[in-house]
Symmetry: C2
Subunit: 447 residues, 2 copies
């Protein structure tokens, strides 16, 4: 085994497994390996000190729950495993042949690598849209969206021109997948219920929330009848759903589509997915979304000691692509760790197989859909199941209790307890002033 | 009455009271005026959308509680008062003679003004120290301190040079007032108890926390016996208390004092107080700390319709200066509002008088001091009283419940639930690398 520039505790004979990424895949892999402390030593590297429970990120973005309640320090989660080290660091590239990772200011050698860096949003070649239509992948993203949403209402209260006020109270969400649907549903609830009696110059309930989706239905991963139910639940909440509508431009004054423009100051991005850029440094084939086309055992071609798990892995099992969801990432992380241990013990291994336990998508208060085998759920029952499962899978008893309390409070009192605007406020308020406000996108007011 | 550029709802005959600042003073004033909706209309302007419960800010800075649990949207607090408008805006200057406020992009006319913009930290003419020794006045400040503190431990885990690691695990707090004492106590608890078993390369319990105070004792607003008790409680927690030590320089590598240098990468500022800069635009005499020397009725000289309340007001009652604490700000806010209503009703008014109900300062777990009249408290009883009073005065039942739960969790499990590092991580990690790390301050390692 090669010498370690970063010495790791324990006897030098144990192979060194390096996990990059502390999301669902990375954490599950680490837990399996942590129970085999005599067999391997492990280093988990992440750019953040915390694991994020991504399925609830949209609730942070919409002020329903506190960021720390869906995030846990990675070293806290793994502190009971003596053979695991957690490092905060930014991996810049992977040298597969040399079995080493290059960090900004360091190198780490590995015997096995589990790459679990996930995916980010894709702007389909229009990265210039990002500044006017932020996506939702990290706590920072969520806080930025929260800032924009609640600042828009503040700006509307200060605005005297009705047309501009209309723009401040129009919210566009691009993308009809789970994130887009969740955000649109929550924005509609904020407008219709949660800000009542708080503004004097306008009625927040008259805000518009528009969900734009290029395809023919929302939540296309679900059966058609459930997509239709999701759409009607969104509409009941007050969301305008525009299907078959392709976005062609985004600026600070709104969105242009192939069916006309929408004047809006707040645009959120819930569309494309793109594999983490680190995948490019592996030197193996990627799919169109930049994900690694892995072998049936989740390794990369010609390097059986390098595994890719979670959203970054592109794989089909039972003839169907494995979806980019938390349960799949967890199963893949566990599989990769167990496969490494089996190989070290010279035991036979089987190809990865995804066990689909069903899926649920939430739309809003008492509104959700679910598909569990042949069972199709919607409405309150699906929503209750969604709540239960998401609290159950949250890491840490403390987080479970606090999230349940925050949900209960919101449900009973329509009070979003985390409605802080933090960070700069000047940029958006400045734009309000006619003389300082540039018109970069020609938009028309619709609806 | 002058025309309003910002039209305010309600009959035009009601005088317009403008409150600047949504802290303790501003909110209390607004509540009194909100109950007199037929007599006045009110506009409250703040740069932030939220009121912050400042006494618990240090607990956000040290990862004990979630930011939103000590902050409430101002318009939510005041939404039941029909005669109050809340505006997010940045007041740039006050035109006392013209009875108007100039905002970045707007003007607001007033009949009465209650200025409650508080104070910020003072670096005693060394504003260049701020970047290496952040102070604690806002949620943003608290999150920045939290980022630095927990990132320092991450950097220490990555550091291989023992001297540099020592610098990462040395924390200096400047100032022995309440904020400095609270921060130092919490930092010591983090080091001694809350990070146990989480790091492999060093023992967090061997971190140093040094409190530097220029004067002869900590918490000088309290009686001498209580200061001595506070010092010994700090030392029991593991804080090195250096009295009579004046800071002469602060750089990214440490602190220089008149008693030698301290090599430390994390320096926090809990020293001077300085009135908000807006006071300078009033054109009236300020004291050395930039606070407004108000008349006995809290108005400014020659303008009886302009009140200053809270930390920004410099006033003595009963021959003693009114301290810059929350109860004083609340009493002043209430007094100003009641005085305005009394004058409008042509009723007589009395000068402001501060009623000191006693004060409590916390040091750490089961450690605090208190002075209630002639009664001197310390230890567990003072701490329990402190906890009770601080939960009681938090705004909102939800926040009370959540803070109590977060405290209980921390108390029972030594687990700081809000230990997120958000924001940039590269800047501090970069510094760790020898080749990129500038040595701007010559420091010697002590102790």
């Amino acid at each position: 085994m090669a010498a370690q520039p970063h010495p790791v505790a324990g006897p030098a004979v144990r192979p060194h497994v390096v996990i990059v990424g502390g999301g669902f895949g990375g954490i599950e892999a680490a837990k399996v390996l942590g129970k085999a402390s005599t067999k391997v030593k492990v280093t988990l590297v992440d750019r953040r000190n915390h694991h994020v429970f991504q399925p609830l990120l949209y609730q942070v973005a919409t002020g329903a729950i506190n960021p720390a309640n869906i995030a846990s320090p990675i070293r806290r989660i793994l502190r009971s495993y003596d053979n695991i080290e957690v490092l905060l660091g930014d991996v810049e590239s992977i040298d597969v042949a040399g079995k080493k990772l290059k960090l900004t200011d360091d190198e780490i050698l590995f015997d096995f690598l589990i790459l679990a860096t996930g995916a980010t949003h894709s702007y389909f070649g229009h990265d210039e849209w990002e500044k006017d239509a932020p996506g939702l992948k990290s706590i920072e993203d969520a806080l930025e969206i929260r800032r924009r949403v609640f600042l828009a209402y503040e700006a509307a209260e200060r605005e005297t021109d009705p047309r501009r006020r209309r723009e401040w109270t129009t919210f566009v969400v691009v993308g009809g997948g789970p994130t887009g649907v969740e955000l649109a549903g929550a924005l509609a609830e904020i407008a219709r219920h949660d800000l009542i009696h708080e503004f004097h110059k306008f009625n927040p309930a008259r805000s518009r929330v528009i969900l734009v989706e290029a395809g023919p239905r929302v939540l296309p991963a679900y059966a058609e009848d459930l997509s239709a139910k999701a759409k009607s639940q969104l509409e009941t909440l007050g969301v305008e759903v525009r299907l078959g509508t392709r976005v062609t431009g985004i600026g600070e004054d709104g969105v242009m589509t192939d069916h006309g423009s929408i004047a809006a100051r707040t645009v959120l991005w819930g569309a494309g997915v793109q594999g983490s850029p680190l995948a490019k440094t592996l030197g193996v084939p990627l799919d169109r979304a930049g994900r690694v086309k892995v072998e049936p055992d989740l390794t990369i071609p010609h390097a059986s000691e390098v595994f890719v798990v979670g959203d970054l892995a592109a794989i089909e099992t039972d003839g169907k692509p494995v979806p980019g969801v938390a349960p799949a990432a967890m199963q893949e992380g566990k599989y990769a760790a167990k496969t490494i241990l089996a190989r070290l013990a010279h035991k036979p291994t089987k190809p990865f197989r995804y066990l689909d336990k069903g899926s649920l998508a939430t739309i809003g208060r008492a509104a959700a859909i679910g598909e569990i085998g042949k069972l199709h759920l919607s409405g309150f029952i699906a929503w209750a199941a969604w709540c239960f499962i998401h609290v159950f899978f949250l890491i840490g008893f403390r987080n479970r209790i606090l999230v349940m309390l925050e949900w209960g409070w919101l449900y009973l009192f329509h009070d979003r307890g985390s409605r802080l605007i933090t960070g700069p406020v000047d940029d958006l308020l400045e734009k309000e002033h006619p003389s300082t406000r540039p018109h970069v996108v020609p938009v028309t007011v619709e609806g």
